[in-house]
C-alpha cells in the first residue's frame, strides 16, 4: 500500500465521490482558485469547475445556511469551514436547522450535509483559533460528529459521511494534515463506518481511549510504556457521536483501567461524558477511577512556550497510566 498524507486522503475521497455522484459539490472560503486554507481542495476547481467548487463570501452563517438549503433541495454539499472556531457563527443553523428538520417535519426532508473543519491547537493560532469544540456538537441529537486520526480513516470516513443522509460534522485537526499513513491505491473502493471505533494497539494492563491528533501521541506513549512492561490497549474512537461504547466496554472488561486522552478541556467535555458512560456500563469491571489527560483549563496561550505547556504531552499520558497501573501488576 502507498503512503500519503491526511490532506491527500481527504482530497481523494472528495474527488472520487464527486466523480461518482454529480449532486456532490463543495463550497467554502478560498477553496476554489486558492485550493483551501489547508490545500485540501487543491486542483478540484480545475477538475470540476466553478459550478461544483464554489468560493463563498466570508460569512459562516450565510454559507452554512446555503449548504443546508442545497441539501434540502436534493444536492449533497460538502462545506468547508476554515476552522471549527468559526462554526460558532453558524451554530444556530447546525443545531437548530440541520439537526432538527428531519425530526420536526415528519421525517420528510433529509439533510445529507458534510461540514469539514479543523479544530485543535499547537500552531500558535491563539486563544480564539485553537479550540476543540467537538463536545458542543456531539451533545446534539441529530448530528453525527466524527474525528478520524489517520489518512486511511480520513478517506474512508469522509466517503461514508458524504453518503450518509444525515448532517455529519467531520472534524479534522490543523496538525493532522501532514500526517502520513497507508491508504489503498486511488480507485480502490473502501469506506470506514461512522459508528465504529478501532483498537489501534492491543494490551491488557490499561485501556487508553483517544481520538484525533492525540491518537499519535498516545501510540508513542504506549511504546514508551511497553518498554517498562506496561501493555496499553489504545482505542481510537474515530466517531464521537455515535459512540462505539461496546468496543470500550469489552476492552474495560479485559483491562479494568481507563485513561482518556484528549486535547480538549476537561470540564463537561468529550472525556467526561465518555467516563460517565463507562461508569454506567462497566462499573463492575473497574479497578481504578478513570484518569483524564486534557489541555490545561485555560484559553490557549499564544506564546509558544506556554502553548506547549498547555497542550497535553506524551509524558502526561505515560504518567496517567502509571497512576492507575500498579507496579506489582506489571512486574509481579
Amino acid at each position: 500500500m502507498r503512503t500519503i498524507t491526511y490532506r491527500d486522503a481527504l482530497r481523494e475521497a472528495i474527488r472520487e465521490e464527486m466523480q461518482r455522484d454529480e449532486r456532490i459539490f463543495i463550497l467554502g472560503e478560498d477553496i476554489a482558485g486558492y485550493g483551501g486554507s489547508y490545500a485540501v481542495s487543491k486542483g478540484l476547481f480545475e477538475e470540476f469547475g466553478e459550478k461544483r467548487v464554489r468560493d463563498t463570501p466570508l460569512s459562516e452563517e450565510v454559507i452554512t445556511g446555503a449548504a443546508i438549503g442545497a441539501a434540502l433541495g436534493g444536492l449533497r454539499p460538502i462545506l468547508e469551514l476554515m476552522t471549527i472556531n468559526f462554526s460558532l457563527l453558524a451554530s444556530d443553523l447546525l443545531v437548530n436547522s440541520a439537526a432538527k428538520f428531519h425530526y420536526m417535519f415528519g421525517g420528510q426532508p433529509e439533510i445529507p450535509l458534510v461540514v469539514r473543519m479543523p479544530g485543535g491547537g499547537g500552531a500558535q493560532r491563539g486563544a480564539q483559533h485553537s479550540q476543540m469544540l467537538e463536545s458542543w456538537y456531539a451533545h446534539i441529537p441529530g448530528l453525527k460528529v466524527v474525528m478520524p486520526a489517520t489518512p486511511y480513516d480520513a478517506k474512508g470516513m469522509l466517503k461514508s459521511a458524504v453518503r450518509d443522509p444525515n448532517p455529519v460534522l467531520f472534524i479534522e485537526h490543523e496538525l493532522l494534515y501532514n500526517v502520513k499513513g497507508e491508504v489503498p491505491d486511488e480507485g480502490i473502493e473502501y469506506t470506514v463506518p461512522l459508528n465504529r471505533g478501532e483498537v489501534k494497539r492491543e494490551g491488557q494492563h490499561v485501556t487508553i481511549i483517544t481520538f484525533s491528533r492525540m491518537l499519535h501521541l498516545t501510540l508513542q506513549a504506549a511504546e514508551d510504556l511497553a518498554k517498562e512492561g506496561i501493555q496499553a490497549e489504545v482505542i481510537d474512537l474515530r466517531s464521537i457521536r455515535p459512540l462505539d461504547i461496546d468496543l470500550i466496554v469489552d476492552s474495560v472488561k479485559k483491562t479494568n483501567r481507563v485513561v482518556i486522552a484528549e486535547e480538549g478541556w476537561k470540564y463537561y467535555g468529550t472525556g467526561q461524558g465518555l467516563a460517565a458512560l463507562i461508569y454506567e456500563f462497566a462499573f463492575d469491571y473497574m479497578d481504578a477511577p478513570i484518569e483524564h489527560v486534557n489541555s490545561a483549563d485555560v484559553p490557549m496561550p499564544y506564546s509558544k512556550v506556554l502553548e506547549r505547556a498547555a497542550l497535553p504531552k506524551k509524558s502526561d499520558v505515560v504518567n496517567a497510566v502509571k497512576a492507575i497501573v500498579p507496579q506489582a501488576l506489571v512486574h509481579g
Binding site: 463492575d284 469491571y285 473497574m286 479497578d287 481504578a288
Partner: protein, 445 residues
C-alpha cells in the same frame, strides 16, 4: 501509622472483647505476629499484626470491647508522631464501649445489623468516619460500628464471587483501596487452606517459618494451612455437638458392579477407572437428595437447607489436607464423578485447586480405607452438618442362614451436628446409604 482494627471473625460477630494484649506499647512487632487475644461471640482468637513496626498505642484496654472495624491499636515507626486526636486522654473511649454499652449491644437483634452491613457493603449507604487520608483517625465510635472499606468494583465483584471476606485484605491501591490484584493474591493464599469461606486472616506474603531445633524438641511454627485446620476443626468440635452412627456394609455386589463398570469404562473413548470412593460419593449424593434434612447448615437462629448437593472429598496432602468438591454429584453419571474426582485429586496434589474447586461443599466423605483402617470418626467440616468416615473393606466371617461364610464388609461412621440433625435422621440416612451400596443398581437407575 497503621490502625489495627477489630476483625470480623464470623457472620454473626458484632464486637470483640480484648482478653489480653500479648504486646505492649513500645514493643516491636513483625507481620503475622500475634498481638492480642480477643473474645468474640463464638470463640477466642488471636489477632495478628498485618504490618510490621512498633506497637505505638493501644486504643482498647484489656477487658474492654470494640465493634468490628474499630481501631484497637496503632502500629508505626518508632519516631512517627501519633495523630493529634490520640495524644489526649479520650482515645480508648473513642473506640471502646463501656461494659454497660456492651450489654446493651448484646441484646440487640443480629438481623438488622447484618442487613445494614449488607447495605454498606453494596454501597447503598455510605459511611466514612474521620478523614480517609489519615488512617489514624479512622476510629468509629461505638454507636456506628461499620467502617467503609475502600475496594474497587472489580475487586469486590471477584471477592463476592469467591465468597472471600475482603474486610481483612490489605489494600495496596491509593488510599489503601483494595484492588483486583490484592483479591487475587488473597485468593491464591486461600487455595492453601481447606473448604468454605474462612473467617480468618489471609496472611499476605508469609515467609516460610523457621524450624527451631532446641534441646530435645523441634519446634515447627504453623503454616497458614495448619493454623486454619487447627482453628476450624477446633471450632467445629467446640461448637457442633458431634454424635456418631456406625453401620457395616456388605460390599460384595458393589465390588461386582464396580468390576462390570470398569470393564465397560476401559473401552470408553476416554477410558477411566472407577474407585469405590466414586461409588460412595454417588450413593451419598443420592441419599442426600432423598433426605434433604441432612444437606443442611446450622446458622444460629435458623437451619439452611441446601438445594444443591456438592460432595467434598477429603484429600491428604503432605502439609495438611484439603477438601475439593464434586458439584451436583447427585446429577452426575458415575463415570463423570470418577473423572472429576481424579481431576480434583490431581489439582490438589499439585496445589493448583482454584477456590471454586474447594468451596461450597454441603457434605464430606472421608475415606481412610486404603490405610487398613477398620473404622474411625471424622470431624465435621463447617458449615456442613455431617461427614461420612469410611474404613477398609475386610473379609469377615458372617452367619447367613445358619452358616458361617466369608463376606467382604466395610464400616462407615456418620458424624452429625446434633444442633441440625437428630439421631433417628442420621440413622435413616445411613440406612439409605447402606441400601444403595448393598443394592448398587440403585446408583444406576
Amino acid at each position: 501509622m497503621k490502625t489495627v482494627e477489630m476483625p470480623k471473625m464470623g457472620d454473626t460477630m458484632e464486637e470483640g472483647k480484648i482478653l489480653r494484649w500479648m504486646k505492649q506499647e513500645g514493643d516491636s512487632v513483625t507481620k503475622g505476629e500475634s498481638l492480642a487475644e480477643v473474645e468474640t461471640d463464638k470463640v477466642n482468637i488471636e489477632i495478628e499484626a498485618f504490618a510490621g513496626g512498633v506497637l505505638r498505642k493501644i486504643l482498647v484496654p484489656e477487658g474492654a470491647s470494640a465493634p468490628i472495624g474499630a481501631g484497637i491499636a496503632l502500629i508505626g515507626a518508632p519516631d512517627e508522631p501519633l495523630p493529634d486526636l490520640l495524644t489526649g486522654n479520650g482515645s480508648a473511649r473513642a473506640a471502646a464501649t463501656t461494659p454497660k454499652e456492651t450489654e446493651k449491644g448484646a441484646t440487640t437483634p443480629e438481623a438488622p445489623a447484618q442487613k445494614l452491613e449488607g447495605l454498606l457493603r453494596e454501597g447503598t449507604v455510605g459511611y466514612s468516619q474521620g478523614t480517609p487520608q489519615q488512617p489514624g483517625l479512622q476510629i468509629a465510635p461505638a454507636t456506628e460500628s461499620f467502617e467503609r472499606i475502600f475496594i474497587s468494583p472489580i475487586a469486590r465483584r471477584i471477592a463476592e464471587e469467591h465468597q472471600l471476606d475482603y474486610s481483612r485484605v490489605e489494600g495496596t491501591g491509593p488510599n489503601g483501596r483494595i484492588i483486583k490484584m490484592d483479591i487475587e493474591a488473597a485468593l491464591a493464599q486461600r487455595q492453601e487452606i481447606p473448604a468454605v469461606p474462612l473467617p480468618v486472616q489471609v496472611p499476605v506474603e508469609e515467609t516460610a517459618p523457621a524450624i527451631i531445633e532446641a534441646g530435645e524438641v523441634t519446634e515447627i511454627p504453623l503454616t497458614a494451612m495448619r493454623r486454619t485446620i487447627a482453628k476450624r476443626l477446633s471450632q467445629s468440635m467446640q461448637t457442633a455437638p458431634h454424635f456418631y452412627v456406625t453401620s457395616v456394609i456388605d460390599t460384595g455386589k458393589l465390588a461386582d458392579l464396580r468390576r462390570q463398570i470398569n470393564e465397560y469404562a476401559q473401552k470408553e473413548p476416554d477410558p477411566v477407572k472407577v474407585s469405590f470412593n466414586d461409588l460412595l460419593v454417588k450413593a451419598v449424593a443420592l441419599a442426600l437428595v432423598r433426605m434433604p434434612q441432612v444437606n443442611v447448615s446450622f446458622a444460629e437462629d435458623r437451619l439452611i437447607l441446601k438445594k444443591q448437593v456438592h460432595i467434598g472429598m477429603a484429600v491428604a496432602l503432605e502439609q495438611g489436607l484439603i477438601v475439593p468438591v464434586i458439584r451436583n454429584a447427585d446429577q452426575r453419571r458415575i463415570l463423570d464423578i470418577a473423572r472429576e474426582s481424579q481431576r480434583l485429586a490431581e489439582l490438589a496434589r499439585t496445589g493448583k485447586l482454584r477456590p471454586e474447586d474447594f468451596s461450597g461443599g454441603t457434605f464430606t466423605v472421608s475415606n481412610l480405607g486404603m490405610f487398613d483402617v477398620d473404622s474411625f470418626t471424622a470431624v465435621i467440616n463447617p458449615p456442613e452438618s455431617a461427614i461420612l468416615a469410611v474404613g477398609s473393606i475386610t473379609p469377615t466371617p458372617v452367619v447367613i442362614d445358619g452358616q458361617v461364610v466369608v463376606r467382604d464388609r466395610m464400616k462407615m461412621t456418620l458424624s452429625s451436628d446434633h444442633r441440625a440433625i437428630d439421631g433417628a435422621t442420621a440413622a435413616r440416612f445411613l440406612q439409605e446409604v447402606k441400601r444403595l451400596l448393598e443394592e448398587p443398581f440403585g446408583l444406576l437407575v
